[in-house]
């Protein structure tokens, strides 16, 4: 286990009650706090939705829900490639680990691109933060763009982190623990989408 004791005093340090490296524990703490952030944002969306008598349900199956399904498929598959990267890194197969990290990175970028295309489509239809082209509650745009935007920000951050990790794993700068830590973050991004897709898209299906 990596303990940041330093100065040759590692043997005198008490063992971590969790038996994991400090970096991994820090990532779990970040995930916990970020989960609360997303919970608060989704609760806020819930209050807006149930508090508005003329809430719009604009998403038709083609293209919106179908597009959301494909995005879900892409993101869940990126979770699988991330697992493959972690398994390869654990087994010491650095080249394979790097390839799987790049695959995850490409899938994450594809998800972000699809999301941005959907945003563009909605903006062309007249949706804005405080503008509803269907004439219903204007808060729909605010809720949709803020929730999906916060998630998209996490995806883009994750794609950058994955690219840095792939380069670092290949050069030996990062090790299997670092890949595992990045994996926890990436799976969390995946997990958040498991709530965003049903609550934002399916609950607003026409």
């Amino acid at each position: 286990m990596e303990v940041s004791a330093g100065h040759g005093h590692a043997g005198l340090m008490e063992e971590s009650p969790y038996g994991i490296p400090s970096g991994k524990l820090a990532m779990w703490c970040f995930v916990l706090s970020d989960a609360v952030t997303f919970s608060a944002v989704l609760f806020a969306y819930g209050y807006l939705r149930v508090g508005s008598p003329d809430w719009s349900t604009p998403f038709v199956f083609v293209p919106s829900i179908l597009n959301g399904l494909v995005m879900t498929f892409v993101l869940l598959t990126s979770g699988l490639t991330m697992l493959a990267a972690v398994e390869a890194a654990k087994a010491g197969r650095t080249a394979a680990g790097t390839r799987w990290l790049w695959a995850t990175c490409v899938l994450g970028a594809l998800f972000a691109a699809m999301h941005l295309m959907e945003w563009r489509h909605m903006i062309e239809e007249g949706w804005r933060l405080f503008q509803n082209p269907l004439g219903g509650a204007v808060q729909f745009g605010a809720a949709f763009f803020s929730v999906t935007g916060l998630h998209l920000l996490h995806v883009v951050g994750g794609v950058v982190a994955l690219a840095i990790m792939a380069l670092g794993l290949r050069s030996g700068k990062y090790n299997r623990i670092d890949v595992e830590i990045t994996g926890i973050y990436w799976h969390f991004v995946d997990l958040v989408w498991m709530f965003v897709f049903p609550l934002i898209y399916l609950m607003n299906a026409k």
Binding site: G19, I20, L25, G183, F188, P198
Partner: protein, 104 residues
């Protein structure tokens, strides 16, 4: 949960099976949506399926199953407590009592 150092996963075949399971849950969510249930029932169904999906993802994909029990007992009750406080105890939560969803 293990009591060992850390995370030895069950291998990729198992994770592929979990991934297929997660995709099936997403499919069920879409099917439930197009049964055109009342908003309250649909919300309950979708939230239940989303929590099931999230639980599977945390347990297997994020490898929490393979960490020490102490980590699980430190993280999950804390998260559940904060979310419960936010949804049921803080003053804004009481506004839901007079909102549209419950009056439908």
């Amino acid at each position: 949960m293990t009591t060992g150092e850390s995370a030895q996963g069950p291998g990729m075949k198992f994770f592929v099976a979990v991934w297929i399971g997660l995709m099936c849950i997403v499919g069920i969510e879409v099917i439930v949506t197009y049964r055109h249930l009342p908003a309250r029932q649909l919300l309950v169904w979708l939230l239940a399926l989303a929590f099931l999906e999230a639980g599977i993802a945390v347990w297997y994909f994020m490898h929490l199953k393979y960490e020490r029990a102490a980590l699980v007992w430190s993280l999950l009750p804390a998260l559940a407590f904060v979310v419960f406080m936010m949804d049921h105890i803080w003053p804004d939560a009481f506004r839901l009592m007079s909102m549209r969803l419950l009056s439908n």
